[in-house]
C-alpha cells in the first residue's frame, strides 16, 4: 500500500519556482501537487512523477514565466536599452586590447566549431538523396578461417543474389553490380572512365536523375550502357548521345541508351558509365552457380515497407551455411552474409566500397570532439576575461547603485555588453570560417561549398550558441557585481579579490591542458610518420623509375615486355627492369587461397599474390634466402615456378627457407599455383602500418607497372623511356613516378591527421595565450601599487617579473601535469594501430613542457616587464 501522504518530486516544483511568476507559484504548485497525489493513488509513483514533469514543462508559457532581469519592452525601456548598448560600445572602445583579445579568441573558437560541424553534417548526408534511402541495403560477406582470422568483403558470392531473389519475399527488389575496370575506346582515342556493370532496375532503386532515355528500360538489353552528362561531354563533346556507340573491352560495341545527371557529390556510388548486367550474362558462358568463393558480386536490396529487418538479418546470416556450408568448411572457411544500410556504407563499413568514396566514422568523432573543445576553450576564455574585468568595474557599479540604480538595470548593462561582444565574435567567426574553408577542404579532402555556412539551420544554431555564451558570460559577473554594497565599494581599496578566482584558475588550467594534449598528439604523429619514413623497408627505394601502364591491357603489356627489355636494356642508365602487378607500396592480389604441400587438405591459407618476373628481385634490391630467382632463360618458370617470402615460409609451416624450396603449392586460383623455387627475404611491401604478410610471386601475364632501376642521369633516361614507350604502345599516355615518392603516399592519412592536429594545436595554444594575456594584464593592473611598494623597498626588476609570473607559471605547470596522463593514453591507443611504431619517449613531453612554459612566460612576461619598469613614484601617487 502506498504512503497515504506522498510528496511530489521536489526538483520539478523547484524548477517551476525558478521560471514561474512568484505571484502564481502557490496556486499552480498547489494544483500540481493535488493532481500528483490523486494520480499517485491511481497509477503509482513513476507515471505520476513523469506526468507531473510534463505538466510543469507545459507551464512554460509567456504569461506564467517571470519577468526576470528583462522587463517587458516598453517605449521607455527601449530607450534604456539603447543607452545600455551605447555604454557597452563606449566601454569596448575604451578597452580596445582586452576587448579585441576577447572577441578574437571567441571568433576563432566559433570558426573551428563551425567548420567541424559543417564537415560532420556533410559526411552524415551521404546517400541521403535517394528517395528510398531508408529501405536500401547492401549485402556484405564476412569470412572467417579456422584460426579465427576475419576478412570483410563488400560483395557476395555469385550464387547469393539469385537465392535472395527467389527465397526472400521481404526483399522487394535486388540489383546486382560488378566492378568492371575497363577503358572506353572511341575510334583511336582511349578514355579511362569509371565503368561498372549494373542490373536492370538500378534506376528504380537509386534516385539518379535521368536526362535522356527511360529509367525502366535503360539497362535492360545486352550490349547497352548508360553514361553521365560529364562523361558524355568528355567523350563526345555533347550530352546528346543516346543511340551512339562506344567500344568496351577494346572491340565490343555498346549502344548508349540513356544519359543521366552526374552522381551528386555525396553519393557512395560514383560512376561514369554503367553497362547492363545482361551484357555480362550474354558474354559469359560458364555458369557461376557454384562460384562460392568469388566474392566480387555486389548486391543491393530494396526491402519492402513492412519488412522485419531483424528477421531478414537473421535469415541472411545463415544463407552461406545453408547452401554451401559444407563446401566452405571443407577448405576451412565460414562465411556469413550481413545486411548494411546503404546510408552506413560510406561511413561505417569496414568492408570498403568499390564504387566510390568511403570514410571512417572515427574521424567524425575526432573532429567533433576537437571542434567542441575549441569552442569550449574560447568560451572559457571569454567568461574568464569577463569575470576578471568585472572587478575593475565594481566602482562603476557602486556609483550606479548610489544614484539609485536597482539590480536589474545593472545586470542588463552587463548582459548587453556580453551579448554585443558575442555577436561581433559570431560575425568574425563566420568570416574566418569562410576564409579558412579552402584550407580546411584541403586538409579534409572535401569540397564543402561556402554556401553551406549560411543555411538557416546554421544561422539559427549560431544565434543560439551566441545567446547561450553571452548570457553565461554576462550573467556571472553581473550577478556578483550587482550584489556589491555601494558604500563599501566606493570607499575603494579594501574589497580584495572579487569572486570567481578559483573558477578562473580552473578554467585556465583546463584550456592550457587541452593545448598541451593537442601539442603532444601533434609531436607524436610527426614522430611516427618520420619513423615510418626513415625505417629500413628492406628494399631499395631510391633510383627506381616506375611506368604506370594502367591503360594498357595487361596481356598486351606482358607480351611486349621482351621488346621493352631489348630496347631499353642496352641503355647505360638502366641497371635492371621488371614488369609486375604491384611495385612495393601498391596492392597485389590479396586474400588468395592456397594449399601448401605437407598441410592438411582442408587447411587453406590466404596470402597475397604478386605477378612479376626475373627482374623483380634485383630491381628492388631484394635478398634471396634460399633456392634461386626466376630465370628469363627458363620459360617453364612461367607455368610451374613460384617464389615466396620469408613470412610465407613460417605461415606455410616449413622449418626453414631451404625446407620450403621444392615444395608444391596448390591453389584454386591457378596464378598462385606452382613449385617453390626460391625464398626472398622479407621486406615491407606495404607501409609500416602493417606487419609483413606472406606473399607468393609468380611469372604471370598480369603486369601493370614497369619498374626500372636507374643509374646516373635520370632525365635523359626518362625521355628515352618515353620514346620507346610511344613506339611500342602508340596512343597510350606515358605515366611515370619515382618509387620512393609513391611509397610514401601510403602515409598520406597519417600525415593529414597530424596536419589537422597541428592546426588545432596552434589555434588552441593561440587562444589559450590570448586568455592568459588578458588575464595577466588584468592581474598586474590590480597589483600596480604592490609592485610600486616592492620597488621602493629595493626589489630588482627580475625579482618583480618572477613574483608576477609565478602565479601563472604554476597554473601552466599544473595544466601540463594533468595533460601528461590524458595524452599518454590517447597517443598510445593511436600508436597501437601500427604494426611498427615509435615509442612516445620523454623527448616529446620535454619539448611540450618547454613550449608550454616558454609561450606562457612570453605572454605573461610582457606585462610583467611593463609593470616592473613602472616608475613607483607615479604608481603610488594615486590614493
Amino acid at each position: 500500500m502506498a504512503t497515504p501522504n506522498p510528496k511530489p518530486p521536489r526538483p520539478a516544483l523547484t524548477f517551476l519556482r525558478v521560471f514561474c511568476r512568484p505571484d502564481l507559484f502557490d496556486e499552480l504548485a498547489g494544483d500540481l501537487e493535488e493532481q500528483y497525489r490523486s494520480r499517485y493513488r491511481r497509477m503509482g509513483a513513476l507515471p505520476a512523477g513523469l506526468l507531473l514533469w510534463k505538466d510543469v514543462l507545459l507551464f512554460l508559457r509567456p504569461w506564467v514565466i517571470r519577468r526576470g532581469p528583462f522587463p517587458e519592452l516598453t517605449p521607455y525601456s527601449s530607450i534604456m536599452w539603447k543607452n545600455h548598448v551605447r555604454t557597452a560600445a563606449r566601454h569596448m572602445r575604451r578597452h580596445k586590447v582586452v576587448t579585441g583579445i576577447n572577441i578574437l579568441g571567441l571568433g576563432i573558437g566559433i570558426a573551428t566549431a563551425l567548420l567541424a560541424l559543417l564537415f560532420i553534417q556533410d559526411e552524415r548526408a551521404f546517400d541521403a538523396f535517394h528517395e528510398q534511402a531508408d529501405r536500401l541495403y547492401r549485402v556484405r560477406t564476412d569470412l572467417q578461417n579456422a584460426e579465427g582470422r576475419q576478412w570483410r568483403f563488400p560483395g557476395v558470392a555469385w550464387p547469393v543474389s539469385p537465392i535472395i531473389r527467389d527465397e526472400y519475399p521481404t526483399v522487394e527488389h535486388i540489383v546486382r553490380m560488378l566492378d568492371h575496370d575497363d577503358e572506353v575506346r572511341l575510334g583511336n582515342e582511349r578514355f579511362h572512365e569509371r565503368v561498372f556493370v549494373a542490373e536492370d532496375g538500378f534506376f528504380e532503386l537509386f534516385s539518379f536523375e535521368m536526362i535522356q532515355g527511360s529509367a525502366s528500360t535503360a539497362l535492360a538489353e545486352p550490349y547497352t550502357a548508360v553514361i553521365t552528362q560529364a562523361a558524355a561531354q568528355r567523350l563526345f563533346g555533347t550530352s546528346d548521345v543516346v543511340g551512339r556507340t562506344i567500344m568496351l573491352q577494346d572491340s565490343v560495341a555498346h549502344i548508349l541508351t540513356a544519359v543521366v545527371a552526374d552522381p551528386p557529390r555525396r553519393s557512395s556510388i560514383d560512376f561514369d558509365i554503367l553497362v547492363s548486367y545482361s551484357t555480362w550474362d550474354a558474354g559469359n558462358t560458364e555458369a557461376p552457380e557454384d562460384h562460392w568463393l568469388d566474392l566480387n558480386m555486389y548486391a543491393f536490396l530494396l526491402v519492402r515497407d513492412d519488412a522485419d529487418i531483424t528477421a531478414l538479418r537473421t535469415r541472411l546470416s545463415g544463407l552461406y551455411e545453408d547452401h554451401a556450408g559444407k563446401m566452405l568448411a571443407d577448405i576451412g572457411y565460414e562465411a556469413t552474409a550481413r545486411l548494411e544500410p546503404l546510408r552506413s556504407v560510406y561511413m561505417r563499413s569496414e568492408a570498403g566500397n568499390p564504387f566510390g568514396p568511403s570514410s571512417d566514422v572515427r574521424y567524425l568523432y575526432l573532429l567533433g570532439c576537437i571542434g567542441a573543445l575549441m569552442l569550449l576553450v574560447a568560451v572559457i576564455n571569454f567568461i574568464n576575461l569577463a569575470t576578471a574585468r568585472s572587478a575593475e568595474r565594481a566602482r562603476e557599479v557602486g556609483v550606479r547603485k548610489a544614484v539609485g540604480a536597482t539590480r536589474s538595470p545593472i545586470i542588463q548593462q552587463f548582459m548587453s555588453e556580453a551579448l554585443l561582444m558575442v555577436f561581433v565574435a559570431l560575425g568574425l567567426g563566420w568570416g574566418m570560417a569562410a576564409l579558412g574553408l579552402p584550407y580546411f577542404n584541403h586538409l579534409t579532402q572535401k569540397a564543402l561549398p561556402a554556401g553551406a555556412l549560411v543555411t538557416p539551420e546554421f544561422m539559427a544554431l549560431g544565434l543560439l550558441v551566441g545567446l547561450a555564451v553571452g548570457v553565461l558570460s554576462g550573467l556571472y559577473p553581473a550577478i556578483v557585481l550587482s550584489r556589491h554594497h555601494p558604500a563599501r565599494v566606493l570607499k575603494g581599496g579594501g574589497q580584495g579579490q572579487p569572486g570567481g578566482r578559483t573558477l578562473r584558475r580552473t578554467l585556465v588550467v583546463g584550456q592550457y591542458g587541452l593545448a598541451c594534449v593537442l601539442m603532444v598528439s601533434t609531436l607524436v604523429g610527426a614522430k611516427q610518420i618520420d619513423f615510418m619514413r626513415s625505417t629500413d623497408t628492406g628494399f631499395q627505394r631510391e633510383n627506381v623509375l616506375v611506368i604506370d601502364a594502367w591503360r594498357v591491357p595487361s596481356w598486351t603489356l606482358f607480351d611486349a615486355l621482351p621488346v621493352l627489355r631489348k630496347r631499353l636494356g642496352g641503355h647505360p642508365g638502366v641497371e635492371w627492369m621488371t614488369g609486375t602487378s604491384a611495385v612495393p607500396g601498391r596492392d597485389g592480389w590479396r586474400s588468395i587461397l592456397v594449399f601448401p604441400e605437407g598441410r592438411e587438405s582442408d587447411d587453406g591459407l590466404t596470402l597475397e599474390f604478386i605477378a612479376s618476373d626475373a627482374g623483380f628481385v634485383p630491381t628492388f634490391g631484394l635478398q634471396m634466402l634460399a633456392g634461386r630467382n626466376f630465370d628469363l632463360d627458363r620459360p617453364a618458370d612461367a607455368d610451374e615456378s613460384i617464389l615466396i617470402n620469408a613470412s610465407a615460409v613460417s605461415a606455410m609451416g616449413y622449418e626453414s627457407p631451404e625446407d620450403a624450396v621444392g615444395r608444391f603449392v596448390r591453389a584454386p586460383n591457378r596464378n598462385a599455383q606452382g613449385t617453390i623455387v626460391g625464398v626472398v627475404d622479407d621486406y615491407h611491401h606495404h607501409g609500416l602500418q602493417e606487419h609483413i604478410q606472406p606473399i607468393i610471386y609468380g611469372v604471370k601475364p598480369h603486369p601493370r607497372f614497369v619498374a626500372i632501376r636507374t643509374r646516373g642521369e635520370v632525365p635523359a633516361l626518362v625521355s628515352e623511356a618515353e620514346r620507346v614507350w610511344s613506339d611500342t604502345f602508340p596512343g597510350y599516355d606515358f605515366d611515370y613516378f619515382f618509387l620512393d615518392e609513391d611509397y610514401d603516399r601510403q602515409y598520406m592519412t597519417e600525415t593529414r591527421l597530424t596536419q589537422v592536429f597541428m592546426t588545432f594545436a596552434v589555434l588552441s595554444i593561440f587562444v589559450s595565450c590570448l586568455g592568459l594575456f588578458g588575464l595577466s594584464a588584468y592581474t598586474i593592473s590590480r597589483r600596480t601599487k604592490e609592485i610600486g611598494v616592492r620597488k621602493v623597498l629595493g626589489a630588482t626588476r627580475s625579482q618583480i617579473v618572477g613574483t608576477v609570473s609565478r602565479e601563472f607559471l604554476l597554473l601552466v605547470v599544473v595544466a601540463f601535469a594533468l595533460a601528461v596522463p590524458v595524452s599518454w593514453i590517447l597517443v598510445n591507443s593511436w600508436l597501437a594501430s601500427f604494426a611498427n611504431r615509435t615509442d612516445v619517449g620523454a623527448g616529446v613531453y620535454a619539448l611540450t613542457a618547454v613550449l608550454a612554459v616558454s609561450v606562457a612566460l612570453l605572454t605573461v612576461g610582457y606585462h610583467a616587464l611593463r609593470a616592473a619598469n613602472l616608475d613607483p613614484a607615479r604608481s603610488l601617487k594615486y590614493e
Binding site: 496556486e27 498547489g30 494544483d31 501537487e33 505538466d55 507551464f59 508559457r61 506564467v64
Partner: protein, 102 residues
C-alpha cells in the same frame, strides 16, 4: 461582447457549475469526466484569459493539506460571464431547433 473559444466556453461553464469551489484542478477533472481532456496549463491559461475578459473573477482561498498547504485561486463567473453563458445557450438552442431529426 468578447469572442470566446470553445474551450473557454467549457471552462466558463465548468466554473459556473462548480459553484464556489472552482479552481484549476477541479475544473480540469470535471471536463475530463465529461470527455474533454486538457492539461493543467491549458486550463489555467483559459481561466486567466476569461478573467482578463471580465467573465470570471478570482480570489485566493482555502489551502488544504492535500495541496501541501498552498492556497488555491478560486474562480467564479461575473454577471457578464453568466450573461455570456445564457447568450451562448440561446444561440445553440435556436440552431438545434432548425436541425431536422436530432
Amino acid at each position: 461582447m468578447d469572442q470566446i473559444s470553445e474551450l473557454e466556453e467549457l471552462v466558463l461553464m465548468a466554473a459556473a457549475a462548480l459553484g464556489d469551489d472552482a479552481y484549476g484542478l477541479v475544473v480540469r477533472d470535471l471536463l475530463d469526466r465529461e470527455g474533454r481532456s486538457a492539461t493543467l496549463a491549458t486550463i489555467h491559461s483559459a481561466l486567466y484569459r476569461l478573467e482578463n475578459k471580465g467573465l470570471l473573477r478570482s480570489r485566493l482561498g482555502g489551502a488544504t493539506e492535500e495541496r501541501g498547504g498552498r492556497s488555491k485561486r478560486i474562480f467564479e463567473p461575473t454577471s457578464t460571464g453568466f450573461a455570456t453563458l445564457r447568450d451562448r445557450r440561446a444561440l445553440r438552442n435556436g440552431l438545434y431547433r432548425l436541425i431536422p431529426g436530432i
